[in-house]
């Protein structure tokens, strides 16, 4: 039992990363019918932005001789600042890479996304070199053992922050007029301008939200695995993309749940089989899910949306 619960805890942590990233894929797809294949690299950018914000903040504290804030306060501030900065990166990606292609065939946008991803990876490599950066440790690990299950304060924090952000996103989408405009665009893109809603602003907002969440995931990931490298977003990003698909393209709830589902499948496959088989078996399971539910769990068969 304890062994099982231990793996549930591990799965929740892995799922938190996938879910946060999957939300960005899913929202952008829902609103713009576009897979942003650079999204995994936005996660990487978020982690690096977090790194620089943290280092900068620590430097500032030490040079000015300020009283250091508690580590967790710094971490929360770092997450918020990095989310904001990375949101702007996402907006820039939309503005430069995708907006000029609004009327172009779908494939052009997909290829553009892949290229932007490569530019972000190799640009990072060119700027920062091949040395791997190590994310500063802001909070000391404290370990708790509850009924044979080992928890750390970091794990609890990671899952907690992820859930909090998802809840905040849900509230935003359901309760604000911007969220309403996003839902309207997902339903029928063509008539939204007739409501006096500027499409480009909503598109930018969608990218900003998705990128902000990816940045949060990047920093949380760095808290768990503190070594950064320019390619860290690739595998995680593709897995989150898969989660967005099984959740149902465009479904926020689906993306979040499927992110966690993917975490569970992965962890438990590794428990039962040799860990080298993990991805092989996990993705075979996902392939089966898609054969039986081609639109994912919460997706609707997409009606081809009309333009006016």
């Amino acid at each position: 039992m304890a062994f099982f619960l231990q793996n549930v805890v591990n799965a929740l942590q892995a799922g938190s990363f996938y879910a946060l990233i999957a939300l960005g894929y899913s929202m952008v797809y829902g609103v713009l019918l576009l897979f942003n294949f650079a999204h995994g690299d936005i996660f990487m950018v978020g982690a690096y932005v977090g790194f620089f914000v943290t280092t900068g903040a620590l430097l500032l504290v030490s040079t000015l001789g300020l009283v250091a804030l508690p580590g967790w306060v710094v971490l929360v501030l770092v997450i918020l600042v990095a989310m904001l900065i990375t949101a702007f990166v996402g907006v820039a990606v939309e503005r430069i890479g995708y907006r000029p292609l609004r009327q172009a065939p779908r494939a052009s946008a997909a290829i553009t996304g892949l290229m932007i991803g490569i530019i972000l990876e190799t640009g990072n490599l060119a700027l920062l070199g091949a040395t791997r950066l190590s994310f500063p440790e802001l909070i000391q690990t404290t370990t708790y053992t509850v009924g044979g299950v080992t928890l750390t304060n970091k794990r609890i924090m990671i899952v907690g922050v992820a859930l909090l952000l998802m809840f905040a996103l849900h509230q935003f989408v359901q309760r604000t007029k911007w969220g309403m405009a996003m839902r309207a665009m997902a339903y029928d893109f063509g008539v939204v301008p007739l409501m006096g809603v500027p499409l480009n602003s909503i598109a930018a907002l969608t990218f900003a939200l998705g990128s902000g969440l990816a940045a949060a995931a990047g920093i949380l990931f760095s808290v768990a695995y503190p070594v950064l490298n320019p390619y860290m977003g690739i595998t995680v990003g593709w897995k989150a993309f898969v989660a967005a698909i099984i959740g149902g393209r465009g479904s926020i709830l689906g993306a979040a749940l499927a992110g966690f589902l993917l975490g569970f499948i992965e962890i438990f496959v590794a428990v039962i089989f040799a860990s080298t088989y993990r991805d092989l078996i996990a993705f075979s399971i996902i392939l089966l899910i898609l054969i039986f539910r081609p639109h994912g769990f919460f997706g609707e068969a997409h009606t081809s949306r009309l333009r006016l």
């Binding site: 008539v191 809603v197 333009r307």
Partner: protein, 237 residues
């Protein structure tokens, strides 16, 4: 003159949908455009709303503003031109109230929004009863009311209506036109596009007849209703 359109030309890919169409609407007027399927009626409304590009030489003016300087959302939010699109196109995934609220996205006059909402509910009491219902689960007639209510909320200088009677039973159709009359009497000009020519001409003061993208007749509704050509082609003899 409220809206003046001169030499409007629109093409889709290589198909000419409108060819040098000129017309105008005065303040407070009700004007209709009639014509058969594919005549270019919806295209005319889309051009005014800046939803389709127009060809060089087309002139669209609204109260001394060049419409071509405005993006589609600004036509609604800054000029007050609202558009009930063909086929209703309400947001079925959102509630009735959310549909009405979304139409006020760029408005910054909360008090007037409240009053307008009150007007919409007074004109269409059914919408108030169904406030929290998902719009997609309403009947066709109710959805049509919502489409008109939504346009009312988005802008009030002029309303472009694309076949508001489509799919409505005769009784409901009559009450829809009564509602539109009320909206008009409160100062909103109406540009109505209809296949149901008799209904449209009875409702409007003036009319234009389009045939495959070309203007073939224009005049007072009374005259058009009596015109033998119109009778033969659009009024069933």
């Amino acid at each position: 003159m409220l809206l003046s359109v001169e030499n409007l030309c629109v093409s889709y890919d290589k198909i000419r949908a409108l060819h040098n169409f000129s017309f105008h609407i005065d303040e407070g007027e009700i004007v209709c455009i009639i014509g058969a399927n594919g005549a270019g009626k919806s295209t005319t409304l889309r051009a005014i709303s800046r939803m389709v590009p127009v060809e060089a030489g087309s002139k669209l003016e609204f109260m001394d503003h060049n419409l071509l300087d405005y993006a589609a959302d600004k036509v609604v939010s800054q000029l007050g031109i609202s558009h009930v699109p063909e086929g209703r196109r309400i947001f079925g995934n959102m509630t009735v109230m959310e549909n009405l609220k979304l139409a006020t996205f760029s408005r910054k006059d909360p008090d007037q929004i409240e009053r307008d909402l009150g007007r919409v509910f007074a004109i269409f009491p059914r919408l108030e009863e169904r406030k929290t219902q998902k719009a997609g689960t309403m009947s066709g007639g109710e959805q049509q009311m919502l489409a008109v209510g939504r346009a009312f909320m988005s802008g009030r200088r002029i309303m472009l209506l694309d076949e508001p009677s489509m799919g409505l039973a005769p009784l409901l159709m009559q009450s829809m036109f009564d509602a539109l009359k009320q909206i008009n009497e409160e100062g909103t000009a109406i540009l109505l596009v209809e296949q149901n020519a008799r209904m449209a001409l009875k409702f409007a003061q003036r009319g234009y007849v389009l045939e495959t993208g070309n203007l073939v007749l224009e005049g007072d509704s009374k005259d058009l209703l009596g015109n033998p050509e119109v009778k033969k082609a659009y009024l069933g003899g």
